[in-house]
């Protein structure tokens, strides 16, 4: 050990009294102290807007070099004072995966894009080729080498962005919410990868995100941010076993620690960190049941009229390979459907057919009984509202009001009606008095709500929302989901895509699993999530409470329970 630890390679030291963006009126970061040793894995958590991205941008000099403002302090990354080196020089040692995957992709094909970094660093050709192969394989994109980057799904783009930085072989790897659009297994694989990088190459890793369950297992230390300060720092198990504190910091506790907490009675705390720990403990406490019950959940309501029906729907982007293969789905009025599945499985492609943004290359789709082929999107959008995967893809106006009014104008509503609707919808999503704000001055969660509002204002009967909670913090995600629930209660049909299995389990009354362009499962959530082995094949991990229930089936625990509370109630009733 060096007696000046900041001079050890791979370490990060920072003491930043304050940083304020040039056009901001309040300090974005205050009193930040960073002390990260080589080979550590650090998790950064906190609400959206708490300053996670700004904190990470300190580490590679983007602050203060690129984002100028009032900066007071010093950051020493990999023995280099970030103020004295250019960002591109620092990038040789400190790799950073930025939050927005799309802006980081430059080249036409996937392999060229991943090679961009290492060629800038003048690696020799063989080394670049190896780095590209290694990185693509590491992020699960083997075989994607010559794919065009413009034709990738959201999650695939995020993987390319990660591979692009990996290929530069950084000594310190900083990742800003790198898993927000990944499928459950993909997310786990990224954390596995980080762990391996640390073990094999002693890479220092700093990762931000909202993945409590993975953070609990893979990071050595958590930093929790609030209002630009690091308000909590320590081992993840310490935070997550304190459910109240976790929730107060705006973080979703892992289901498993919550189950432990809820099962504790007064003086005796039960602490579970993994599903197997929990199952082992409860196995000891529960009595074997003579009659394990196979609980089939009631099927989703299917008496109401069919409003969407597809008939052997097929789609291909390029005539060569088909992305959707013979999709047959009937959706009834008033359902709340969640579409889930691996990245690139075809969820977005399918949902774009519902309002005619894409037209089937083969097969048919009927909306309200009418063949949608001959109805244009403008017309269809009166019935089917579509919210894009990324709110920034759909926001274009200069103010919140203008944004919401756009569709209303297109439909020819008069000014009075428009005013009324704008007010109503903003009240509904909890964004009163935001009319005149510029959309890009809003936080990500608010932009997402704006995107939904702009569609809601037109009161479509069917609402299709692609990944409404991506990149949102826990509270934001819950708010968005309860918004959808409220709309559902009002009689709207909701179709939403999500990678958050917990939300799918808790909110939807029907889950459709996509795999490789096909519908492989379609049932009530309880019936879907108990098929653990099959789901694993489709890159889906059920919520932890479902896994616990599965394992405790021999003890008479019902296996059609979806929420933590239902499960805990059931276990408690058996314990007594």
């Amino acid at each position: 050990m060096n007696n000046r630890p900041e001079l050890e390679r791979g370490s990060v030291f920072g003491d930043v009294e304050k940083f304020r963006y040039a056009d901001s009126t309040a300090d974005t970061l205050t009193n930040i102290k960073i002390n990260i040793k080589k080979g550590e894995i650090i998790g950064v958590m906190g609400r959206t807007g708490s300053g996670k991205t700004s904190l990470l941008m300190l580490l590679n000099g983007l602050i203060p070099h690129f984002y100028e403002g009032e900066f007071k302090g010093n950051v020493i990354s990999n023995t280099m004072n970030t103020q004295r080196y250019r960002v591109q020089t620092l990038s040789r040692f400190i790799g950073m995966v930025l939050q927005d995957a799309e802006t980081q992709i430059f080249s036409l094909t996937v392999d060229k894009d991943v090679a961009f970094g290492p060629s800038n660093l003048a690696f020799d050709r063989d080394k670049i080729r190896n780095a590209v192969t290694f990185s693509l394989e590491a992020v699960g994109l083997k075989g994607y080498e010559s794919r065009m980057t413009t034709g990738l799904s959201g999650g695939e783009k995020q993987r390319v962005a990660i591979a692009g930085v990996l290929a530069m072989e950084p000594e310190i790897l900083v990742l800003d919410e790198p898993t927000s659009e990944l499928d459950p297994k993909g997310k786990l694989e990224i954390y596995e990868l980080l762990n391996k990088l640390r073990q094999k190459r002693d890479v220092t890793i700093i990762i931000s995100g909202h993945d409590s369950e993975e953070m609990l297992h893979y990071v050595d230390r958590l930093m929790v941010m609030e209002n630009g300060k690091i308000v909590w720092e320590g081992k993840p198990e310490k935070l997550f076993t304190d459910i109240t504190l976790t929730k107060n910091l705006g973080i979703c506790p892992p289901e498993i620690t919550e189950i432990g907490k809820l099962l504790s009675n007064g003086d005796k705390e039960t602490l579970y960190l993994t599903v197997s720990e929990c199952v082992a403990d409860l196995t000891k406490k529960l009595k074997l049941s003579s009659t394990p019950i196979d609980n089939k959940a009631t099927n989703y309501n299917s008496n109401s009229p069919i409003i969407i029906e597809t008939n052997n729907l097929c789609y291909s982007y390029d005539k060569k390979s088909s992305v959707l293969k013979n999709i047959n789905i009937k959706i009834h009025m008033g359902e709340f459907v969640a579409l889930i599945g691996k990245n690139g499985a075809g969820k977005t492609t399918f949902s774009k057919h519902l309002n005619g943004l894409l037209r089937p290359t083969n097969g048919k789709i009927f909306i309200n009984g009418r063949d949608a082929f001959n109805i244009n999107t403008a017309e269809l959008s009166k019935t089917v509202g579509y919210v894009f995967q990324n709110p920034d893809h759909q926001i274009f106006a200069a103010s919140v009001k203008e944004e919401i009014e756009y569709g209303l104008k297109a439909y020819g509503f008069d000014e009075e009606e428009r005013e009324k609707r704008v007010k109503n919808v903003l009240r509904f999503v909890g964004m009163e008095n935001y009319e005149e704000r510029h959309p890009f001055s809003l936080g990500k969660g608010e932009r997402q709500k704006l995107a939904v509002s702009s569609i809601l204002a037109m009161t479509p009967q069917i609402l299709v929302i692609d990944e409404p909670t991506t990149g949102q913090d826990w509270e934001g995600a819950l708010k968005m989901m309860s918004l959808l629930k409220e709309l559902h209660a009002k009689g709207h049909t909701i179709i939403t895509i999500t990678h958050n299995m917990r939300l799918a389990a808790d909110y939807a009354d029907r889950v459709i699993v996509f795999a490789d362009g096909q519908v492989v499962l379609d049932d009530a959530p309880a019936n879907i999530f108990k098929q653990t082995d099959i789901l694993n094949k489709y890159f889906i991990t059920p919520p932890q409470s479902v896994l616990v229930a599965q394992n405790l089936k021999p003890f008479g625990i019902m296996d059609n329970l979806l929420t933590v509370n239902e499960l805990v109630e059931n276990i408690k009733s058996k314990l007594n």
């Binding site: 950073m96 094909t109 690696f123």
Partner: protein, 269 residues
Amino acid sequence: MLIEYYPINTQLHKLDVRTKLFGFLAITIIAFIFLSPVINFFLVLISLLMLIWAKAPIKRLNLVIKPLIPIFIIMLVITGFTYSPSAFESEFNRNILFYLLPDMGAPFTVGGFQLGLTLVMRILTMVLASSVITFTTQIEDILQLFKKMKMPYQLAFVITTGIRFIPTMQKKAEMIQEAQITRGAEIGTGGMIKRIKSFIPILIPMIVNSLRMSDNLAVAMLNRGFGAMKTSTDLEEIKMTTKDYVISIIIMIILVSAIWARNKNVGVL
């Protein structure tokens, strides 16, 4: 950027970027030294054949060429009227097709009309020939050429970001259009005027966005080490093969004979 590069393996894709640029230069010179529409028509034909040979999606050119049609017509009319018969050497071209005004006012000459045709074909040649280059050459190769020409780093940065920015903007424009369509806008239907009108609402957000986007692009590039070292590695070295030299020599011969022919007064009007 008329037709974006697409990785397939035709003979044209395999040629060196320098050969292709030389060919482009030659065809441009030839187009500009000859006034005859017949010769220029052949140039259009050659460029078109090359595009077909490169397996380019020719239909996409409609997007560029269609809006140019009114301009072409205006050019034909203007040149027809502005050149008086005395401007031409051959009798045929001094012929007057008709007069716009009574008493032999504003004559419309055959020569002027032919000149108009030539101008139109020149533009077509430029559009088609540059499409051959953009469709068959990767940006990386062009940048490598700049580097070989010892272009200063800052300039290369500006050009690179510029080149990379265009597809980003295009994508953004498409997204905004999609967003507007999903909110009931009827875009891409109706007549020309309606189409142009429906494009205006995209323009404003595009301009607002472009600043933000160019900032983001610069951050992302620095972040990937752009400009970190004095040199960078090119995955594939651009290389002149025997074929490239042979073709370049042929282009040279054609160019020299064209200039020679021009000096012998071939292809004047």
